[in-house]
C-alpha cells in the first residue's frame, strides 16, 4: 500500500497537575527523551527511537486530560488539500503558525464531533534517533525507564462516535478495522481506525461526556518488553489499571496504567497488520469483555468509567 494522506499519529498534548513531577516521571519512568521547553513553559518529549522532534507535550493545568492529538500528513500539499476537504465537509479549521510548537511546522486544527481537538501538520524537525542515517548501529534502547519505540495511537471518548468516525473515514482516509456493537446489535460502542497498515492509529468509544481521553499508547518491541515495563511500573509504584494482558481487538499485548496526573497511558506490543481491502471485525455486546481484555474476558469498572 502506498502511504499517502495521513501518515501517523504525531503528537499529543496532555494536561498535567504538577509539571516538574511529571517531567521527572516521563523522563525516568517512561524513559522518554526531554526535548526542551517553550516560552509558555510546556515540556516536550520524544521516544529515543522517534526521529521527529517531539511526540508528547505536557502543559501545566489545574485538571488532567488531553488538549489535542495530532497526525502527520505526507507533505504541505497534502495538508492544504485536507484543509480544503475539511472545510468543504463543513468542518471549521484554524491555522496554527509554524513554531508555535517547538520544531513543528504549520498545523491545521479542528474539532471533531466527539469534542476533541485534532491537528494535522506536514513538518516536524528531523532530529534523528541518534543512530544517524549512514551505516547506523541498532539501538537496543538500553538504560533506565520503559523506553517505548514510539507514541503509537490514542483512545478518545465522546458522544457523537458516528460523527467522528464518519469524519475520519470519509474526509481523512482512515479505514475501519474493528468495532464493538452495543446491546441493540446496531449502534457502535467503539471503533478502531487506521490510516496506515497498523491495526489502529486511533480508537474511539461512545461516552456521555465529550472531549475525554481514555489513553495515549506507546509501542514496545515484544511481549517480554511489556512484562519488563510492568516490572518498571511496580518498582516505581506506578498506578496500573489493567494487565499485563492481551486485547482481543487488535490482538496486541498491553498494560493500561496512569501517569502522575491520572491520564491513562498504555504500553503495548504486537497486533496484526491491516490493509484497506480487509473486512472489518465486529464484536457483539455479549463478547465486549473478551474483546477488550482477552484473558479476563470481562471489562473492569475503569474501562468505561475512568477517563480524564
Amino acid at each position: 500500500m502506498a502511504m499517502t494522506g495521513v501518515l501517523r499519529p504525531g503528537h499529543a498534548q496532555l494536561r498535567v497537575l504538577d509539571l516538574e513531577e511529571s517531567v521527572k516521571w516521563y523522563t525516568d519512568v517512561m524513559g522518554l527523551v526531554p526535548m526542551g521547553r517553550d516560552k509558555q513553559g510546556r515540556a516536550y518529549f520524544k521516544t529515543r527511537a522517534e526521529r521527529d522532534h517531539n511526540s508528547i507535550i505536557l502543559r501545566q493545568a489545574d485538571q488532567a486530560g488531553i488538549d489535542f492529538f495530532a497526525f502527520k500528513v505526507l507533505d504541505k500539499t497534502t495538508l492544504e488539500d485536507f484543509d480544503r476537504k475539511l472545510n468543504a465537509y463543513g468542518v471549521k479549521t484554524e491555522r496554527i503558525p509554524a513554531g508555535e510548537l517547538l520544531g513543528t511546522g504549520e498545523r491545521v486544527r479542528f474539532k471533531i464531533p466527539t469534542g476533541h481537538t485534532i491537528e494535522l501538520y506536514a513538518e516536524k524537525k528531523d532530529v534523528g534517533n541518534g543512530m544517524g542515517y549512514n551505516d547506523p548501529e541498532v539501538d537496543v534502547l538500553s538504560g533506565p525507564g520503559i523506553r517505548p519505540i514510539r507514541m503509537d495511537h490514542a483512545l478518545l471518548y465522546g458522544a457523537d462516535l458516528d460523527g467522528s468516525t464518519k469524519l475520519f473515514t470519509e474526509v481523512l482516509g482512515f479505514t475501519l478495522v474493528e468495532r464493538v456493537k452495543m446491546e441493540d446489535g446496531k449502534t457502535d460502542l467503539a471503533v478502531w481506525l487506521t490510516c496506515s497498515a497498523k491495526a489502529h492509529d486511533l480508537a474511539m468509544v461512545r461516552h456521555a461526556e465529550d472531549d475525554k481521553l481514555h489513553h495515549v499508547s506507546f509501542q514496545l518491541q515484544s511481549w517480554e518488553g511489556v512484562l519488563r515495563a510492568a516490572d518498571i511500573m511496580s518498582i516505581n509504584r506506578v498506578s496500573i489499571d489493567m494487565g499485563p494482558t492481551r486485547h482481543g481487538i487488535t490482538q496486541g499485548t498491553t498494560i493500561y496504567f496512569f501517569e502522575p496526573s491520572g491520564n491513562r497511558l498504555e504500553t503495548f506490543s504486537g497486533g496484526y497488520d491491516h490493509y484497506p481491502d480487509m473486512h472489518p471485525i465486529t464484536w457483539s455486546w455479549e463478547e465486549v469483555g473478551r474483546s477488550i481484555f482477552y484473558h479476563d474476558r470481562k471489562l473492569n469498572d475503569a474501562f468505561l468509567g475512568v477517563v480524564t
Binding site: 486530560g65 498506578s239 491520572g262
Partner: protein, 109 residues
C-alpha cells in the same frame, strides 16, 4: 518503624489500617478491602471522592474538574491524593456513576 492510622468508612462502619505514607485509597486496596471506588489513583479522574468527617491529612494536587477549591478546603477530596496524619472518618462522595451500568450513553438505548 511503620506508622499506621485507622480509616473508617462512615456508611459501612468498616475500617482498615493505612500506612501514614500511603494514600487512603491505596491503603484500602493494598489490603484487598473495598468501599471507595478506584479510578486512576493519581488525582485526575475523580471517582474516589470522599468527604473527610474527622481527622487530619496531608494532600497532593488534585484535578479541579472534580474537586473545587471550596470543596478541598472543606475536606471533600480525592482519597487517592490524601495521606492520613491521624485516624480518619470519611464518607464516600464519588460514585462510579459513569460505569457500564449507569452510563447515560447506555441508558439512552
Amino acid at each position: 518503624m511503620a506508622s499506621y492510622r485507622t480509616i473508617t468508612i462512615a456508611e459501612t462502619c468498616e475500617s482498615y489500617r493505612c500506612l501514614q505514607e500511603r494514600s487512603v485509597l491505596e491503603g484500602m486496596e493494598a489490603l484487598g478491602r473495598k468501599g471507595i471506588p478506584v479510578g486512576c489513583r493519581r488525582g485526575g479522574c475523580g471517582v474516589c471522592k470522599v468527604q473527610v468527617i474527622e481527622g487530619q491529612f496531608t494532600k497532593r494536587v488534585m484535578s479541579r474538574a472534580h474537586v473545587s477549591a471550596e470543596e478541598e478546603a472543606s475536606g471533600c477530596v480525592l482519597s487517592c491524593c490524601i495521606r492520613p496524619s491521624s485516624d480518619l472518618r470519611l464518607r464516600i462522595v464519588g460514585a462510579m456513576k459513569k460505569n457500564v451500568c449507569h452510563s447515560p450513553a447506555m441508558a439512552a438505548l
